[in-house]
Amino acid sequence: MEFLLQMRKVSKTYPGVKALDGVQIAIKPGEVHALIGENGAGKSTLMKILVGVESADEGAEIEFAGEKVHFSKPIDATLKGISIIYQDLSLFPNLSVAENICIGRENAGKGYYRVQWKQMKLLAEKTLAELGLKVDVSLPLGKLSIAKQQLVAIARSLAFDSKLIVMDEPTSSLSSGEVEHLYNIIEDLRKRGISIIYISHKLKELFTVADRFTVLRDGKFVGSYDKDDMNEDKLISLMVGRKVEVINREENKGGEEVLRVEALSKRGNFKDISFSLHAGEIIGITGLVGAGRTELAQALFALNKPDSGNIYISGKKVDLKSSGDAVKHKMAYIPESRQTQGLFLRQSIIDNISVTVFDQMLNRFGFIERAREKQLASEYIQILDIRPPLAEMNAGQLSGGNQQKIVIAKWLSTEPKILIIDEPTNGIDIGAKTEIHKLLRRLTNKGIGIIVISSELPEVLAVSDRILVMKQGRISGEIAAAEATQEKIMNFAVLGAG
């Protein structure tokens, strides 16, 4: 048997998006196989299809241990010998360590009716000992550090006699010493003939642990490569082959400074962040997932209080105590999950746009004046080209792109000087993306300073005047738009240096 697992012709279509397009991957027994690609390249979707969380489109072929398989539930895959360790670990903080390892089989298989606490403890202690972890297995899992919880998750796979373990960003919450320990364990598993699919953004890590690489890009299979034929530069260029959609734009006129941040730090979030934003300028902040971008954005908008550092707005030092303060200082923040955090889906476009400026909609008796709201809404429907242009329509009935425009309109109606927007085109189709990009550029003509946070490099390149790259909570590089390329950004994001 040359391959333990073969997946071929795997496609997955979501409404409006093709997440995977004829992807393939083949895993040899006892190898560590890195699955790599940019955010949204389709790695997670592929793994979800493998274990049966998602189902693939018609025509996909999956062969495991020499037989054709199709899983409809993750537990079926687990019982066949494929375990997945999710980035969030998918454990139970309220249950004991032993139970977490034996979950679903607390009766030690079908033989017993009663939960076999003793056997469970023995099995848990045995598997944890194999991983070099000594803990009281009757403690609730939540009392353990994340690193130890990670080992518990691995122990669970071992307890199920897995032949293939998928690890999704296993080091995302481990310190460097703990990462070393994880490498040793992976080496050990490999010696026992267990195959591992290792998903990570950290290239250094991949070159330490992986034997082979499979690269995905935009839901397509780029290729599989041996470690010997691969180096970091090559890997980066394989990951980012995407074309940038160029937007015609005028050079940034460089207005006065609207926001300056000095040495902003928060423990466990970000450190020593300093930059300034000028009127009419767009700064793109990018980096890998977990680099601290969103945490920083929330700190600027006083949703996440920094430990130290200063924020200046229009040259004056400010102490923002709440997001209300931030709004008073003409700041606006559009979060990533606009459906849950940014919109009232069951209310009309009018209500959504006017909600931020209710106090300006009142007549002299203190009642909201509907006519004024309507006028405001139709103004923004026109400016932002919201379609259909029906102010009374519920926000939930609009397409993703138009919903995003409503969220933008809602904040523009406060006439902000600083607009922070997190993943502005997340979940929006390509055409609408370009439109949002153009819209953001147009807004700069009004003298608004904009911070765009995005993990999509083409997007950052398309809209930004300047790009700040974050890595592990710090700004690892600043690149002017004229000199920026995806490779340069990736180098800062992954290696921390140009």
Binding site: S90, L91, I103, V115, Q472
Partner: protein, 327 residues
Amino acid sequence: MKSFFKSKEMGILAVLVFLCTVLSVNNPIFLTLDNIQDILKANSVLAILAMGMTLVIITGGIDVSVAAITSAAMVITGHSMKLLPDSPISILLALIIAVASGLIIGLLNGTLISRLKIPPIVTTLGTMSIINGSILYFTNGVFLNSSNFPQVFIRFSDIKLAGISILVYIIALVTLITWYVMKYMMIGRSVFAIGGNPVSAVRAGIHLERTQLFVYGYMGFLAGIAAMTQMMYTKSVDPNGMLGFELTVISAVVIGGANILGGNGSVWGTLLGVLLLGVMQNGLILSHIDTYWQKVIVGLVILSAVSYDYLQHKRAESKQLKVEVQA
């Protein structure tokens, strides 16, 4: 044993012991066997319902229809008993009728919650209202008293073994059964798993719907037992007697350390929560304090217990790092 002393249950026990000490110093009657047994008997219905509610709350759900289900089971059983002969078999029949009525309504709740995915609070608010309305329609609020019951039922209610009322044995039995289910049966562990992390639970092959159905079914089953117990204790059926009692049940469970958001809770904690409520009530009566104050004090106890929990949780959360910042 070491973990027991650090547990939440220990904290509640400490408060309970403290309260008992104060009360017995104040009033020598408090620590008599008779008084303690009175407390247990008076809170037997609360204890039984709180056991079921513990399971419901561990899954992250809530059941506000328990008092209504208990009343319904009482009304149905009470009126059936008018027709039953004065023979020991009637006790068994009454029990079956009570349990069956409770179980059926509980399973109905469970079906609506697990299959139709109606949020538990909405489902049980709905069934509560329907049941309460129907009870009024059928009974016109009329009481049944001991003259409506077979003599054998009255004698059965007064049984004592080794000087201890049968009601106390019922509490013990229900507590032990619930403890066994939660500790040693797969379904019990599923209840904890679902409350801890429903997504992971489903990934691990745990049947979410089946577990929910079980939890609300068991709640209904215990409401049937509670109906029987209430009739034995009061030797009457008051169709309106339980109105609002669901809130006391939920209070006992929350005071007992269960997390209203699911995941945590224990049979012993709940039992202590029930005792704490019972002792407080008894103590206030013995101290001649107005019963209105009891509600105020219960409220304060709930709020302080829950805020303590919340602060602990918040402290633990703030220690957790989001991003591994480069040194």
